[in-house]
């Protein structure tokens, strides 16, 4: 798979000591990213890792690439500028649920809408970690935290729904500690042209430990998650006998072999389908009603902003009579003073 066998994932490790808490899910994600980049055959100098503020946003310091640790919520705006200025770069944005969905919500949706070729990794731990434990825009309703001692009274964002609602063309989900699957998701995201959002269900060992445990715990994860793959039937479960069907406009969990249901009745995942209806349904599935969808939920080709900018520039430059500053100032209404 790797085009350049010379690149090792350790080449992407910087000399800085990693300062996340022991047991934090971020360590695993850092490894996954470095492995994915090595596997993709990236050159260190062509990679720019941009982040905002938060625990996850320290990420660039640990990468032996170009990196920019910026300000809260603005990572995607800064990454957009980097990519448009130099479309040859591989631009990865590291963000968290607070950074991307609260203070940076506006930039998040507009970056997605424009479909700039960025690979965005959204670390979702449903808590503000760096400020030591306040609820975030993805915390479940009723969540107890330092700023919600009696429970939150607000509905959380579902990142996949927000992404697809903002006309996102690529959304994938994976679990921090599942390195193998995470690496595949990151590779898929990197290969996708346009904005790709990978939501990583990440554990904050200090302030929100085991928040995803109901679905990520090994004992249950096979029954409580479904790994979607394009072109494959939506089957899951420890015994591989559960599946998803459509009943009216709703998804329904069924058991193969019960009530006359066979594998042929199970939905086949089409990640490339332009219509968002089913993708939204899949992205929104929550335990315990449904298994939580992992994998590439949506991956659709669409015009890419930075490519369109470059194309338009080339076309206008080709057609215009104005080739230089001097041409410009002499065009139009100019008069001589003798």
């Amino acid at each position: 798979m790797a085009e350049n066998c010379q690149v090792k994932f350790t080449d992407f490790k910087s000399d800085q000591s990693v300062k996340w808490c022991p047991g934090c899910g971020d360590h695993a994600i850092l490894n996954s990213v470095q492995k994915a980049m090595a596997s993709l055959g990236y050159k260190k100098e062509e990679v720019a890792v941009i982040s905002g503020i938060g625990c996850s946003s320290r990420f660039p310091y640990y990468m032996e690439t170009f990196g920019f640790h910026t300000i809260h919520g603005r990572g995607s705006a800064i990454a957009s500028g980097v990519k448009v200025a130099n479309p040859h770069l591989k631009v990865w944005q590291i963000t968290g649920d607070g950074d991307a969905l609260a203070i940076g919500g506006n930039h998040f949706i507009h970056t997605i809408r424009r479909n700039i070729d960025l690979n965005v990794i959204l670390f979702n731990n449903q808590i503000y970690g760096l400020t030591k434990g306040q609820y975030s825009p993805t915390s479940k309703r009723g969540f107890i935290s330092k700023t919600s001692p009696f429970g939150t009274v607000e509905a959380p964002f579902r990142p996949g729904e927000l992404c697809i609602g903002a006309r996102g063309q690529f959304f994938a989900r994976c679990i921090d500690k599942d390195l193998k699957h995470s690496v595949v998701m990151l590779e898929e995201a990197a290969k996708h042209e346009g904005t790709s959002i990978v939501e990583v269900l990440q554990n904050c060992v200090i302030y929100n430990d085991k928040t995803h445990n109901a679905i990520t715990d090994k004992a249950h994860s096979a029954d409580r998650t479904i790994k979607l793959e394009h072109g494959k039937p939506m089957i899951f479960g420890a015994e591989n006998n559960k599946g998803l069907m459509l009943e009216g406009l709703e998804l329904k969990v069924v058991t193969i072999g019960e009530n006359g249901i066979t594998e042929d009745d199970i939905l086949v995942h089409d990640a490339h389908c332009d219509d968002i209806t089913l993708h939204l349904k899949l992205a929104d599935m929550e335990y315990p009603e449904y298994p939580v969808a992992l994998g590439v939920i949506r991956s659709v080709k669409a015009p890419v902003y930075d490519q369109c900018v470059a194309k338009q520039l080339a076309e206008v430059q080709e057609q215009s009579q104005i080739k230089s500053f001097n041409d410009l100032i002499h065009s139009g209404d100019v008069w001589d003073v003798e």
Binding site: K44, A48, A77, H107, L328, D336
Partner: protein
């Protein structure tokens, strides 16, 4: 053209075209100023329009004006008071009557003075001239609407199109008044409506008939004669401040060999810069119309990190939103130009009006010790120069630069002598050297204290920067106490050392002045004209006008300390005066402040200076 019955010889004249927002007054004024400029006059123009796109027709709030000041001598302002007012309706007359020079000429479309329009304009009687106390003036009551209809009655045009040509009739009449050729305007009409010959013919006919109407009424109306000015030879064009800013960056991009990136969000009165650069894809400009002001500057910071000449443009409220990101550019030590076209504040304030009240915001409106270079342009055309120098300083010193202009400069126009870019200074880009074994992200040029630009894509220069404090030696994140103090001081000193390349403060006027007038930015034209006129009347005055605010020119103290009586004039409550006092506590200054959304008038400045001279 026959011999005129009565001609007034003048060195300079101010004409104001005024009508409803939809009457085409901006175009009329622009065409007139072009013709005057081509004729060889020095000119200065200023549009004055409401922030509403189409305020209720016939009301004072819907009045749109365009003022042209042109002369046989150099002109530095669009003029305070009008010699000639063209009023297309009673509201235009009412709004501008107080700005008439005694004995001036008013051309009024009397057809518009019906009961309904008079009441809408707030006139209580049917005699607006007397009611506006203009009885002693030279009033040309021209039935412009009727005459336009008459002129076009056989052309087969619909009534709406006929009425829309009224402004060309008025323009023709004004051309007669100043004995100006119609050629340029005819060429414009032919080009503009080339797809519709009927409209071309109609507009040209109305223009000519308006001109000929002057011949008919000449017995009643004097005409003006203004000789061409003695202007430096060369090719010229008209340029507004906003256009000049945009073009200054284009020039800087070409000179530096960098690609130009603009991240911006529309805001009055800065939007034209965004529009102008959006149209310049032929010169490779990457324009990112962002989702908000913050994304505007953040995309620019990203582009700067990636190696582009990066710009963001805004007005006061937008500068407030950009504050945190400017701080990032300060600590990351990346080149960036932030243009603030100042308008009346606080909050939404007076969006279409001018003010200089963002000086302190530009200097200090950020968290932490966050020094940036502050430059202020002082005429519509030198917005070009200062945009160029803002870019040059930003790149060569690896620092954010805030360029202050204002609504008055942005919308005003002047003739601009086309520059030869080869004669302009080079812009050298401080690229990090891949072969430098000692390179690290915060290695500095020891003379300027600026770091080097290491852009993504260059193998061997991989590095990380960011908003956290960095170790002076390695560029790694550092919370060390003494290191932080050193880095804070270095960033300040880096900005102060820009003074080494900033020209010294120039004193205009009398070295032995009794009063030193101090100003900065967009008030130059008015201050200079007032000082110059008083000097011609025998008074001893001088002007020290600042374009470089931070750092101040090296000789600032030396100039100021020579004068006992200093008056700092600005369109705010004294921000620059405070700044001078802060820097030079022993310099005593007086203040002359105006915060009305309007520029100074030369008249009020002269009056004030005279009282100071007499004290």
């Amino acid at each position: 053209m026959g011999k005129r019955s009565k001609v007034i010889e003048r060195d300079e004249v101010v004409v104001r075209f005024s009508g409803d927002s939809g009457d085409g007054m901006q175009l009329t004024g622009t065409l007139f100023s072009y013709t005057s400029a081509i004729f060889g006059n020095d000119i200065s123009t200023f549009p004055d329009y409401p922030s509403e796109i189409r305020a209720p027709q016939g009301t004072i709030s819907g009045v749109s004006g365009f003022q042209v000041h042109f002369g046989h001598t150099e002109v530095y302002t669009p003029g305070d008071y009008c010699d000639v007012l063209v009023a297309m309706n009673p509201a235009a007359l009412k709004a501008n009557a107080k700005w008439m020079k005694p004995g001036g000429t008013v051309i009024l479309d009397v057809d518009s003075c019906d009961e309904k329009n008079l009441r809408k304009a707030g006139y209580e009687t049917d005699d607006p001239i007397t009611e506006s106390k203009l009885s002693g003036y030279n009033i040309v009551k021209a039935p412009i609407t009727t005459l336009t209809k008459e002129s076009l009655k056989d052309m087969g045009l619909d009534n709406k199109s006929i009425l829309r040509s009224k402004n060309m009739y008025a323009l023709g009449l004004v051309y007669w008044l100043f004995d100006r050729p119609l050629d340029h305007t005819k060429d414009y009409i032919k080009k503009k409506f080339k797809k519709n010959q009927l409209i071309v013919d109609a507009n040209v006919k109305v223009l000519e008939d308006g001109y000929n109407y002057g011949n008919i009424i000449q017995a009643l109306t004097p005409s003006y004669h203004i000789h061409p000015a003695d202007i430096k030879k060369g090719k010229y064009r008209n340029l507004s401040g906003n256009q000049a800013v945009a073009w200054g960056f284009l020039a800087a991009a070409e000179k530096s060999g960098l690609e130009l990136f603009l991240g911006s969000y529309p805001i009055t009165p800065a939007t034209e810069i965004l529009q102008e650069l959006s149209a310049r894809k032929d010169l490779g400009v990457k324009v990112f119309q962002a989702e908000d002001e913050i994304a505007g500057i953040c995309t620019a910071i990203g582009a700067s990190f990636a190696g582009d000449l990066a710009i963001t443009t805004t007005s006061g409220p937008g500068l407030a939103l950009k504050g945190e990101a400017i701080g990032l550019a300060v600590i990351a030590e990346l080149p960036l130009v932030i243009v603030n076209v100042q308008r009346g504040g606080p909050s939404t304030g007076l969006p279409t009006k001018t003010e200089q009240s963002d000086l302190m915001q530009a200097l200090y409106g950020r968290n932490g010790e966050s020094p940036a270079v502050i430059i202020a342009a002082s005429s519509p055309t030198n917005c070009f120069d200062y945009a160029f120098y803002a870019a040059k300083i930003a790149v060569e010193h690896m620092t954010p630069v805030i360029l202050l202009t204002d609504g008055f400069l942005a919308n005003g126009t002047q003739p601009w002598r086309l520059p030869n870019l080869e004669e302009w200074p080079t812009i050298s880009v401080p690229k990090a050297d891949v072969n430098d074994k000692d390179w690290h992200p915060y290695k500095r040029d020891l003379e300027k204290l600026s770091r080097y630009w290491a852009t993504p894509g260059t193998a061997g220069l991989e590095h990380r920067i960011g908003g956290l404090e960095k170790d002076e030696q390695t560029g790694a994140v550092s919370h060390d106490a003494l290191n932080h103090q050193r880095m804070v001081e270095i960033r300040e000193e880096k900005v102060q050392r820009v003074a080494n390349v900033v020209p010294e403060l120039e004193l205009l006027g009398d070295e032995d002045a009794d009063v030193l007038v101090v100003g900065w930015g967009g008030t130059f034209g008015h201050l200079f004209t007032a000082v110059d006129e008083l000097a011609n009347e025998g008074h001893k005055l001088a002007l020290a006008h600042f374009n470089y605010i931070k750092p101040l020119p090296r000789n600032t103290y030396e100039v100021l300390k020579r004068y006992k009586k200093i008056v700092v004039c600005e369109l705010n409550l004294g921000q620059f005066a405070d700044y001078l006092t802060m820097n030079f506590p022993d310099i005593q200054t007086q203040r002359f402040n105006k915060v009305q959304g309007q520029p100074f008038t030369v008249v009020e400045l002269k009056e004030h200076f005279k009282t100071l001279l007499e004290e």
